[in-house]
Symmetry: C2
Subunit: 343 residues, 2 copies
Amino acid sequence: MKTGQATIKDIARELNLSASTISRALKDYPGISSETKRKVKEVAEKLNYRPNAIALSLRNSRSYTIGVIIPEVVHFFFSTVVSGIEEIAHSRGYNVILTQSNEKMEREVSSIETMLSNQIDGVLVSYSKDTTTFDHFTNVLEEGFPLVFFDRVPTIPNAISVLVDDYQGAFDATTHLIGQGFQHIVHLSGPENLKLSKDRENGYRDALKKNGMKVNPSHIISCPFGSVEESRKIVSEILTSLPERPDAFFCCNDSSAVGAMMACRDAKLKIPLEVGIVGFSDWQFCTMLEPQLSSVYQPGFLMGAKATEILIDIIEKKLDPKTMEHSLVLETNLIERASSKRF
Amino acid sequence: MKTGQATIKDIARELNLSASTISRALKDYPGISSETKRKVKEVAEKLNYRPNAIALSLRNSRSYTIGVIIPEVVHFFFSTVVSGIEEIAHSRGYNVILTQSNEKMEREVSSIETMLSNQIDGVLVSYSKDTTTFDHFTNVLEEGFPLVFFDRVPTIPNAISVLVDDYQGAFDATTHLIGQGFQHIVHLSGPENLKLSKDRENGYRDALKKNGMKVNPSHIISCPFGSVEESRKIVSEILTSLPERPDAFFCCNDSSAVGAMMACRDAKLKIPLEVGIVGFSDWQFCTMLEPQLSSVYQPGFLMGAKATEILIDIIEKKLDPKTMEHSLVLETNLIERASSKRF
DNA sequence: TAATAAACTGCAAACGTTTGAATAGGGCAA
DNA sequence: TTGCCCTATTCAAACGTTTGCAGTTTATTA
């Protein structure tokens, strides 16, 4: 035993057999005497033999590994999705190799490159806020490489995607605020290059219209970063600058909702009496706030699990990207809590 | 072009050259005519050639991939650490393959198995709450396999580890509470099989002693799950059951600190006037709470980065596990916020 | 006893790449 | 014409595994 792992050849040498016999013995092939099998297994055990997955990958051109590209790990929603991905991947015998783009398109491109070099069997992607062109995806799609988008999905032909019903979630949230008697509902909207931002904004718009309220363009305010600080600042300004003080905020995510809460508190406005607030995602901390934050729940774990199932089904040819449904839309669920409930 | 990626052989066939020439041409070896190099590169480009990292791994017995085993991805601290790991790994040309143990020892064992099969170059581990024996680690350590522990580190010989100064953090937090005039400080302690739980408890004990206060065993209460619900329940009970009502809580993590806050609020106790609370980790949401939660900051990103640097240095033989420092202790930093500041 | 089947085991090629050693071809000098 | 040295290229083996086919025993049957 020189350096490192014992191989099939080491076992073969030890027993004066050929490598092929060892291979077959270990896999309980017929045509190998049980005596030999016994001995082989014994020696394998003794040498602490472990099959070399790399050699297998090379031979089978299959690595049983899937790649995941997400904007950030330190993000409640994405880490939840990753959890779902892990769960299914491992139960089906796949490894997960993870990279985060840190919201940089450049990173996304290089990640996909190295993943392809590593003979990944398929990729799951949620693209970055910084991504404006999609050639790095369309190229691999055209080669017929298994690729599934989740949450942040591009509008490119033939892309398979798993997402939540952002429109409906936004619609429900806005309708709820209206139902609670709020009149001047502001929407803090997300990054413009994400389809989900548009969907959420449209849900907001349609809910207003449906309830006979008109959409005031100055009530739709862009929060591209979606951070607490950004929205706190923006909301503070709005509270004084607008001719009529807004009395509710439907926010594109929970961080900006927290920022809005803080700004309202700074302005001595009572939540939910004077201002109602609803976020999006239902992060962990929603129930830790005072008052608890209403939010639109997104099934992150389920999304990861479903996307992975679909990806692996494509890899294993149980699904055909040509004929299958192109997008799976999961239901959102408005969680009404104190921050928006007047009665 | 049959199925999938172009290989060196495809280029060779196209140009009527041998594989070795192609290989050398692509790497700008001397002894290949520049004319040939030009043509080779041109065809490589045309065929969208990408070197097969698997084949390289097999040949070099190096995969340029490191494995990471953490208890949970959906955990602010661990995801921050992962972020640091990713950063360094990628900058040094390594991939990261991630698994979560979900706090199950069994998962940890199987993860390590499959990682070794995949010819991982090294592993970073933070072990699960469920882990009681460490054979799965000592075995690979004895084989001389590169392995670095972070945050949750076992007390086994020759283990290399990166951790924070849990003792000092706890000491500082407790001292701070004492300095704010709190008299009956309860410690919600963590899972018993984690060394960090012991360290934090000892920091708490020593801070009391140093200030001439005696350690009351009934003031050290186990919160093995460290969840909001668990601690809310436990603290609610304590507030009434103990002969003297506790007036401060030093909690093993931020979730249990939130639970303690909630329990105090339920009991109509004013924070920090009547009760002081300090958590551990300084999670994102500390500043979102009302009052903001004091907590001991742990440098998660830095921890991930340092652990990865050390691991890769070991892999690349720039560090020798036999002679190097066995543990790197990072400083914690008490962040004093409203939840514990009376003046 | 010889032919034949049955039961085991070995050979060699393949996956894609690298690399030390070998070879082919050409030019040049003696 | 022979010998020699470049230069440009090819050969072959190796990494660890699998697998169709061929080979070698041994036992069975006529």
